[in-house]
């Protein structure tokens, strides 16, 4: 496919001929129907499309949460399509930080404990976990609310806790499924700025699924999906990409 993103480095995340077919009520649904995609390291990519276009499926396939029924997907030198369940879990733990529309915070845990949760599965000792979680929450301006339960936090605050959790294992990639979908536009902008900052300052590769064109404007590049295929691949804000290279 044509490479519109303005740089010629080897792709960091790549998918070739990705298909995800499943049967639903006797009908074959083609959530992905032959998608080729290459994402360089440090890119901020937004995936748009109507509901049912397969944009979330593409995100989850690239994030190792879902398996394609056909094609190849790799991140760095790891081939996700040939990994078993445990290897995928390890890959998600080390390489991906997920953010969701509904935040998915554990209601019984405090902000601090929620952020530290990935450390439980990574086998990190409690003191180390909590120290790191505290640092992350401080960095994201949540230092005053470490011991609040999710129900005591606003939507924007909850999403910041969720972002801190996504950053806990210091993954190179942040993936968001409609991360601003449950937030008002002002709070949404704050969250988007935070993600933008992560991409430019910390060199994270950010992949978001959204149906909000305003959100897409924060990205370096915009993919449009329809019926499981990429119908448009647009570079945005070229200048920022080049700025990014200067910074590095």
């Amino acid at each position: 496919m044509a490479n519109h993103n303005g740089n010629h480095r080897t792709p960091y995340i790549s998918g070739y001929g990705l298909r995800k077919h499943f049967k639903l009520g006797g009908q074959v649904v083609r959530a992905l129907d032959g998608v080729d995609v290459e994402i360089p390291k440090g890119q901020f990519l937004a995936i748009m499309g109507p509901s049912g276009s397969g944009k979330s499926t593409l995100l989850y396939v690239m994030g190792g949460l879902d398996r394609p029924t056909g094609g190849e997907v790799s991140v760095g030198n790891k081939y996700l399509h040939s990994m078993n369940a445990d290897e995928l879990a390890r890959f998600r733990r080390e390489s991906i930080g997920f953010i969701f529309q509904q935040f998915h915070l554990v209601p019984t845990l405090t902000a601090l404990e929620n952020v530290a949760l990935p450390g439980v599965f990574a086998g990190i000792p409690r003191e180390v976990r909590e120290k790191r979680a505290r640092q992350l929450l401080n960095t994201l301006g949540m230092g005053e609310r470490l011991d609040h339960k999710p129900s005591q936090l606003s939507g924007g605050q909850q999403q910041r806790v969720a972002i801190a959790r996504a950053l806990f294992n210091n993954p190179p990639i942040i993936m968001g499924d409609e991360p601003t979908g449950a937030l008002d536009s002002k709070t949404g902008q704050t969250v988007m700025n935070l993600l933008r900052w992560l991409a430019t300052r910390q060199g994270k590769t950010v992949v978001l699924v959204t149906h909000d064109a305003g959100v897409a404007s924060y990205s370096d590049r915009l993919l449009h999906l329809r019926d499981g295929r990429i119908v448009d691949d647009i570079p945005v804000a070229q200048q920022e990409i080049e700025d990014l290279h200067v910074i590095r």
């Binding site: 499926t57 989850y60 994030g63 949460l65 879902d66 369940a85 445990d86 879990a89 390890r90 998600r92 733990r93 080390e94 997920f98 969701f100 509904q102 998915h104 554990v106 019984t108 845990l109 949760l117 990935p118 439980v120 599965f121 990574a122 086998g123 409690r126 959790r165 996504a166 806990f168 294992n169």
Partner: protein, 429 residues
Amino acid sequence: MFSELAGLAIGNLFRARARLAMTAGGVVVGTSAVILLVALTFGLQRSAEAGIGNSSAVTEIQVYPSWEIPPGQSPEDIPQLNLETVQKLWRIPGVAAVIPMVNLQVGGDLMSGDYIAGANIVGIDPRLLPYLGITLEQGTLSLQPGEMIVGPYIGENFFDPTSEFYEPVQVDVYNTPLKFRVTNWNNGTELKKDIKVSGTFAAGTSFDYTIFMNVNDIIGYNEWASGQETDPETFTFGQVLVRADSRETTIDVTNAIKDLGLNAYSMGEFLGQMNNFFRTMRLILGGVGGVALLVAAFGVANTMTMAILERTKEIGLMKAIGATDRDVLTVFLIESGLVGLAGGVVGVLLSFILRRVINQAVANAPTGEDSVTNFLPFNTSQIGGNLIIIPTDLWLFAIVLATLVGLGAGLFPSLRAARLSPVIALKQE
């Protein structure tokens, strides 16, 4: 890692406290049922053993000549209870003592003034007295010539031989001057001798109606009655008692005696059968309690299934942030195992409380003809308020069992949780 996941599981448990309490409540009832029903069999077994007599009765073996002539042998070949047999018995491994006894072959009575009392009068070697298994209540364990050791019920059965009616009279045999009267039925002659009671012993042995005398005294009376000297070649003992050195060896010794061609009967043998009976009873009642625990298991399975349905998204999230299937399985298995463990521990505590209540009720229950406890298959006074006996092994086993029930009940729901596809779990509404 495990402790981290356990911490997560414990936190989860306290989310739905009411549901946890009710689910664990089922396990509590099941555990208590298992413990109390099995503990009841221990109590009944103890009371049955108490009814048999004191512990010395258990190692006691009665030896008799065989009643049957084995094929190909003549009646002369059958071993008799003679000196040779006694020597053979002494050589059996596990034998603590062989106690040959000589019966008085003439009439013998105790006399206190005008009152007389009959008894089973037996002569034994004084050196064997310690092996009889009797506990002295008064006096010393001594059988010099002219002395006797008297069984506990002898003193209660004196009567006036001239009276028209039999009216037992109690005589303090230890502190009353007594005479011993021997009657030769062949010619009607009598001997009356002053006798010294050197001791009396407690009830509960097979000698409650027995008077022990020095074996030489008895042989002397027998020779007086028959007018003949005792011939060691043809002499036989009236009865022989073998004392095994422990409860465990009693059966082996009994079998070895039977191998000598003698008949042997021991309480130990009967006890073995009784223990088998109680073992079976324990299995049956334990099984009945187990049914209650099985019902509780369905409760745990139901609760875990509900918890997993409720927390489907959370399972998806756990997987998204790097939990493996095994991590998810571990968290939910620890949760269900803890429900079982908590129910088991509380069940044990409840059992201890109920043990106290039941045992006190039994101990305080009135005894006698009209007693409400008469329907029970034992004498409540005999067990001393120990109807429910919970050995340490039993309650430890119950806790382990309850935990395993929790784990088992949680296995399938937890496996389902572990295998959930993260994408489907996250999208669930």
